[in-house]
């Protein structure tokens, strides 16, 4: 088992690194949404562009991975302040949250790029 200092330091690093990835992904994602909506694309037209696209799949897989890393670490920090102990339970809950986000994200990526 990893000691607390090493774990906290590496979680912090993962948080920062995933934040960098998210900063880029969010900008691309928002730009894409704006182009799609402004362009008046229908759902079918959007899916026609994303289905079978390796590029969109790769992009959104990276996005989903970054979210699954970043969000649980952040929520863990906030909850730790009000939990008053129960560290182990919190860590297990956050690992479960990460898996939930990953599963939901992968399902969405599959739906949009593989159909």
């Amino acid at each position: 088992m990893m000691g607390a200092p090493r774990r906290e330091a590496l979680l912090w690093l993962a948080q920062r690194a995933s934040a960098v990835v998210l900063a880029l992904c969010v900008v691309v994602h928002l730009a894409t949404m704006i182009v799609a909506v402004r362009g008046g694309l229908s759902a079918a037209e959007i899916l026609a562009r994303t289905r079978g696209s390796v590029v969109w799949a790769a992009f959104y897989l990276v996005f989903v991975a970054a979210i699954a890393i970043h969000a649980p670490i952040g929520v863990r920090a906030i909850l730790a302040e009000s939990s008053g102990g129960h560290r182990r339970r919190l860590d297990i809950a956050m690992a479960a949250f990460a898996l939930l986000l990953l599963a939901a994200g992968l399902r969405a990526v599959y739906a949009v790029t593989a159909g």
Binding site: G3, R6, L13, A80, E81, S82
Partner: protein, 241 residues
């Protein structure tokens, strides 16, 4: 001669054990909040308990909560904080109250020790003097953070200290950072492990109340951010467990 309306916390901790009492204090030119507290204790109510020592802004003993903000009372002019003639003086926040304006500072110094905020020597008096280059990046980092006199204002202003009783706090972490950069010190690995624990540097949310309130104009936020970076790279390098 106008009068100040001064509300002062009397009694112990919390609403059940204490309350604000109101005193009328004659207003003077160039009056400090410490002057006001002194006046109350000498002329009105000798049972008022408070701490001070140097009364000239060097020791940090007179720190109290003035109109909601932690300040050195000897260096706070009344006209700067009591524009409407009303002053509220309370003990430093986030510390147990012993009585009136006096707080128990033991946890503050215990956390200093928990963060390994003490120098660990590597040489003896028989060795030559250590060569510390004043212009080096490491020494400049120490110099920027070394002037802390342990007044507790940063600790008292910190939201994370309020939320997480185990949090080491800005002062202890700031001091640990100066030692991490001290080339003479021999406890780097142990100190990095001490500051990176569950309630260590990573608990800081960069609110910067500490930096805003520090009377010595130090920046504990910067020291803590540097500790976050240093511990991250130390963890990658296998320096801490």
């Amino acid at each position: 001669m106008s009068t100040l309306v001064v509300r002062v916390w009397r009694g112990g901790q919390g609403a059940g054990a204490g309350r604000f009492e109101t005193y009328d204090v004659p207003r003077q030119p160039a009056q400090t909040v410490l002057d006001v507290v002194t006046h109350i204790q000498r002329r009105i109510d000798p049972t008022l308990a408070y701490r001070f020592a140097c009364r000239v802004g060097m020791c940090g003993s007179c720190a109290m909560t003035v109109n909601g903000k932690a300040r050195w009372t000897c260096r706070t002019h009344v006209q700067a904080v009591a524009g409407d003639g009303v002053l509220e003086i309370a003990p430093l926040a986030h510390f147990p109250v012993i009585r009136d304006l006096v707080t128990d500072m033991r946890a503050f110094f215990d956390k200093w020790a928990q963060a390994k905020g003490e120098f660990v020597p590597t040489a003896s008096r028989r060795d030559p003097f250590a060569g510390v280059e004043p212009a080096s990046a490491a020494r400049r980092a120490v110099d920027a953070a070394i002037e802390c006199i342990g007044c507790g204002i940063c600790h008292s202003s910190c939201d994370v200290v309020a939320w997480n009783p185990a949090y080491l706090g800005p002062a202890a972490l700031n001091r640990a950072w100066t030692l991490v950069n001290d080339v003479r010190d021999g406890a780097r690995a142990a100190r990095l492990a001490a500051v990176a624990g569950d309630a260590g540097c990573h608990a800081c949310h960069t609110h910067q109340s500490c930096t805003e309130r520090c009377p010595k104009k130090l920046a504990p936020t910067a020291s803590i951010a540097a500790l976050k970076r240093t511990t991250a790279f130390a963890a990658l390098a296998g320096e801490i467990e």
